[in-house]
Amino acid sequence: MARREVVLETRNLSMHFGGVRAVDNVDFELREKELRCLIGPNGAGKSTFFKCLTGQLTPTSGDVVIRDIPMTGREPHAIAGLGVGIKTQVPNLFDGLSAYENLWLSARRWHGDKRASQLVKETIERLELGEICSATVGSLAHGQRQMVELGMVVAAEPWLVLLDEPAAGMTDEETYKTAELVREINKTSALIVVEHDMNFIRAISDIVTLFHQGSIFMEDTMDVISADPRAREIYLGHKS
């Protein structure tokens, strides 16, 4: 079987803050409909790498290429404008607007009014947001806000999805629901998921990339990584 096309890659990507090398010469590839989890201890460079991909940070050196288009240092709207769905670490929503309005703004970026309204309706049913869809997002609980933001990604029907800690602060039930949703999104889209929750990663991941000190330490399945003593030492901070 032919290998799938590379949809996102970084070449020698580096991001330095003064003398700190938050991301250091990272070569990374993501193929069509691949689901890749990025893990690593705090300060490993995952979120900085994520922000370089989404255009929130301009890398010090190196390249970000999305579907053969050089996107290094481009504005976030230009990257999202390629059909990339982005969810940031902290729920990033329109607090003064309702959940419905949040979803509509996402869907309307890509579709006409009628199709956008239909997509919003479908997303509300799919994510079971019916009870909160007319509530002001600022008044919702953290887990509900996370679900609304995931809904915003889903409603836009992106072909590439970048999620930074989608399960953070969620209850077990919400985490399970999110894992199901991520799996479902992956049927039509490639995904990069930055996450700390190991159970969540086990539930969704194929290949996991372990970051350490700004570089990729290893890439493999979660079972192989968790069995590796060096990886355990990096992640847990002690030899086991």
Binding site: T54, Q56, E75, P76, H77, A78, A80, G81, V84, I86, T88, N92, L93, F94, D95, G96, L97, S98, Y100, E101, W104, L105, S106, R108, R109, W110, D113, S134, T136, M152, A156
Partner: protein, 347 residues
């Protein structure tokens, strides 16, 4: 889409405004009608600020700069063309183009909101200072003398296509009201379009809007230019009402007044700032004529009271009060129905 307001609500208000226009000549004295024409110009300025600040979240402290550009552009163009119709369009375009050039450097230069307020105010004050220094006969554009401190005369409106058929004050009032209503309906429609809703989302969260794939700089620039064009239109009807334009249209006081009208009326509405302009103008005018209280002092006290006690402004506060009453009534009815159902089931 509750928080964006509804266009049908805008049309209802527009309908009430048409009734007011038709009744005004039988309610008010002739002199008041003439004054109303000036206030209509000012209320269009307030409307433009409500659009850019209230809906777009862009605090433009120097909105009066575009108001003044509109007033001067109209006066100069009308004198040179010899008619008002084309001059009105020139005034709108002059204000909008000036805003587009200024806005390009501000938004694409990623200037923060606070500095934007300072820059727009500074531009307004520069224009104020500049126009005050144009008193010599050498300062003229075509046939129109700029007049320095005393300003320049603003020709009255005329029948389109006939520069010599001037409109009477009553006719000018009707035209002014028609323009105010049209501007109000246009802005009311604009905020319900995709463009308007994206502008509201930028006000709510600039970064999130960007991450959805919207070029926020372009939307801000568009809104800034449109609101400037509306402010320019306000300048036209103000100077037509006053019959001349002076550098005072660019003054700090004029800029501050527009902010006060929007704060008092309610920044998240379009009708609130319009009503506040009318009420506060006539309040300060009557206080000024009585000479009991200093009008500016009263205006300052009103501003402090509103900022502290009614921060959302009059119209949103009243609307919120009705909304809460309606919600309470709905909950009571629901509880009553549930009780009744329970009662029937048990007994």
């Amino acid at each position: 889409m509750r928080l964006y307001g509804t266009f049908s609500g805008t049309l209802v208000v527009a309908g009430l405004a048409i009734i007011f226009t038709l009744l005004a000549p039988s309610i008010f004295e002739f002199f008041t009608i003439i004054t109303l024409t000036q206030v209509i110009g000012l209320s269009i300025l307030a409307l433009s600020l409500a659009l850019v600040w209230g809906f777009g979240g862009i605090l433009c402290f120097g909105q009066s700069a575009f108001f003044g550009i509109g007033a001067y552009a109209y006066s100069v163009a009308a004198v040179n063309i010899g008619g008002s119709t084309g001059a009105i369009f020139i005034a709108i375009l002059a204000a909008a183009i000036f805003a587009a050039i200024l806005g390009y450097f501000v938004f694409y230069g990623k200037v923060s909101d606070v500095y934007l307020a300072v820059i727009t105010l500074t531009v307004s004050l520069i224009l104020y200072s500049l126009m005050r220094r144009t008193s010599g006969p050498e300062y003229k554009i075509g046939k129109a003398l700029l007049g320095g401190f005393n300003g320049t005369g603003s020709p009255p409106l005329n029948v389109p296509g006939n520069g010599s058929a001037m409109l009477f004050p009553m006719q000018t009032f009707y035209v002014s009201m028609a323009v105010l209503i049209t501007a109000y309906v246009f802005t009311g429609w604009l905020v319900t379009t995709k463009f308007g809703r994206v502008c509201v989302s930028i006000r709510e969260n600039d970064v999130r809007t960007e991450l959805l794939g919207y070029d926020t700089r372009l939307y801000k620039l568009g809104l800034f230019s449109i609101s400037a064009g509306i402010a320019g239109l306000g300048g036209v009807f103000f100077c037509v009402g006053v019959t001349r334009v002076t550098p005072d249209v660019f003054s700090l006081g004029q800029s501050a007044l527009a902010i006060i009208w929007v704060i008092v009326g309610g920044r998240m509405t379009l009708i609130g700032p319009i009503l506040a302009t009318f009420v506060l103008y006539f309040l300060t005018s009557s206080l000024g004529s009585q000479q009991v209280f200093n009008a500016n002092l009263v205006l300052g006290i009103i501003l402090v009271i509103f900022v502290l006690l009614v921060p959302n402004g009059v119209v949103p506060t009243i609307a919120g009060w009705f909304e809460r009453r309606r919600t309470k009534r709905y909950i009571r009815q629901k509880e009553r129905r549930m009780k009744l159902r329970k009662h029937r089931a048990t007994g």
